[in-house]
Assembly symmetry: C2
Homo-oligomer: 359 residues x 2
Amino acid sequence: MNASEFRRRGKEMVDYVADYLEGIEGRPVYPDVEPGYLRPLIPTAAPQEPEAFEDIINDIEKIIMPGVTHWHSPYFFAYFPTASSYPAMLADMLCGAIGCIGFSWAASPACTELETVMMDWLGKMLQLPEAFLAGKAGEGGGVIQGSASEATLVALLAARTKVIRQLQAQSPELTQAAIMEKLVAYSSDQAHSSVERAGLIGGVKLKAIPSDGKFAMRASALQEALEQDKAAGLIPFFFADSFNFNPHKWLLVNFDCSAMWGKKRTDLTGAFKLDPVYLKHSHQDSGLITDYRGSNQLNEALLQRINSAKKIHLVPCHLRDKIVLRFAVCARTVESAHVQFAWEHIKELAGDVLRVEKE
Amino acid sequence: MNASEFRRRGKEMVDYVADYLEGIEGRPVYPDVEPGYLRPLIPTAAPQEPEAFEDIINDIEKIIMPGVTHWHSPYFFAYFPTASSYPAMLADMLCGAIGCIGFSWAASPACTELETVMMDWLGKMLQLPEAFLAGKAGEGGGVIQGSASEATLVALLAARTKVIRQLQAQSPELTQAAIMEKLVAYSSDQAHSSVERAGLIGGVKLKAIPSDGKFAMRASALQEALEQDKAAGLIPFFFADSFNFNPHKWLLVNFDCSAMWGKKRTDLTGAFKLDPVYLKHSHQDSGLITDYRGSNQLNEALLQRINSAKKIHLVPCHLRDKIVLRFAVCARTVESAHVQFAWEHIKELAGDVLRVEKE
């Protein structure tokens, strides 16, 4: 499918989406199918030849829709609301087109920066304490997770790492396993099952505090459990330094957008970094520190020239003690002319680097 | 934004997306911004009044695009390919409109069933051994994860749970911590950092097997490590009963779609279920087992009538020992008329249940 066909099919899809949502009240909210309904309706293996786009679109009403539970039907009162709105769908279309993976600032600065600033906006709307905001120089801040279950797990793992490091700093002879055996996290006995699952994944005890007659957890019950556990030599470790809620349930944002804030960003980032020392050397994450010599130094200088020129974009990797410039052919639309252009450009900049080296 | 405005704005967005991708070669592949560039360009808090749609769209080129690393530029040779295609973007639009959360078969049968059958198609295309396919009665099968990092973590946690349960079945006096302290997982020393991170999260040792001169891991080196570790009383536990690759890198599927297969589905599902006994009672996940009495039985009968009639859809929950029918107002378009209709319908069916009870 080329751009011109996408323009046509995309507009048809926009109408299909609008028709679907305008007519959703007329569809049965819960499907009338038995487990296994779909397999006999389609071939047992992928077709060898491509099918016509019309046939694929027709299959949506014939094969998919009969098996859909319509979460956006006004007769759907099950589970929980999944937010959905037309503006959010437009935003998703744009995100799909940009299609970047924002795992670091450099991987797409607008991603990281917009997330940080929007999480500040949202935190202010919720009147979260200042400590949870990133601001210009704060230690706190927000990050978007896929689900509240993920946020709970991330918070528990960060807390686990923090307490293990603290205790090992005090008593270097303590093993991780010896500490983990004594760690206890706490939740209400009414907490979602994902909280118990986080304890299971994290390999720590999770104690459910009995709730009162109104299903609320009482501070006094928590206090009692804490004192009992400390007296028994256990180590309570999981408290509320973080806050999470789901805009994809409450704020018309399409799934997935679970908003999580922490008072100390480095508690989260540090827990999952494999070499915390590295954080001290660089605010970016090029993977480079500055004491390489010889061909590594030349490669580093070349990479810097390439990425400063901004005509192409590369990242390095380490092969044992060597810095290597990786050339990955990425976009679907790369032609050999693009690769040849890149190669000439790299050769020219490499020549410059070698000339500077000689001087 | 109503459906009619979405039809207009959606079609404009389709054109914007096509224009962006057709013109991407003309944009600098790597942005010319410094960390913190975005914050001064926008207000410090969300506006009190909504802004015009045109103003928001204009901000994309003015504020966002200058900070985007263009992963789909043909001059992007960094990191790895992120697959993207027009058909995948159309599919995402449809998914956004359906907007269901497919956490169980009943939550939207088409989701689970299409995923299972498509993972069989894909597994056949890769010529995976039969054991990895679900088929009609297989024990294996595929599941879509968000990323290969997630798949690695899921596989490691499932293996950890399995070995802990096996060893505790043999020696009930062994604690989880005592077992975990001895567990060792293995990877090549060239494996992605997410593998080491999975070990860190899982709280188990991860041993990097030295690769050879061609950066390949040798079976003999693994064998040697296994024997050493067993002799030292450790427990090797993490082997290849699963397979994963990223269609969102290789197969033109937009992020995120990481395809993971296992030889035994229950190794994965069982590891994260909190009450494995429950699995034996029910293939669905209504949370109901059949020995409730009194008002619970009536509630269960009522729920069954409601969901069989398919005019509205509800799910139950447990409040301590009571089965409760939850009525959650979910869709953005729910009016009081829908709620009143639902209430009349529930009252009518409740009357039927009570009449049957009396007879």
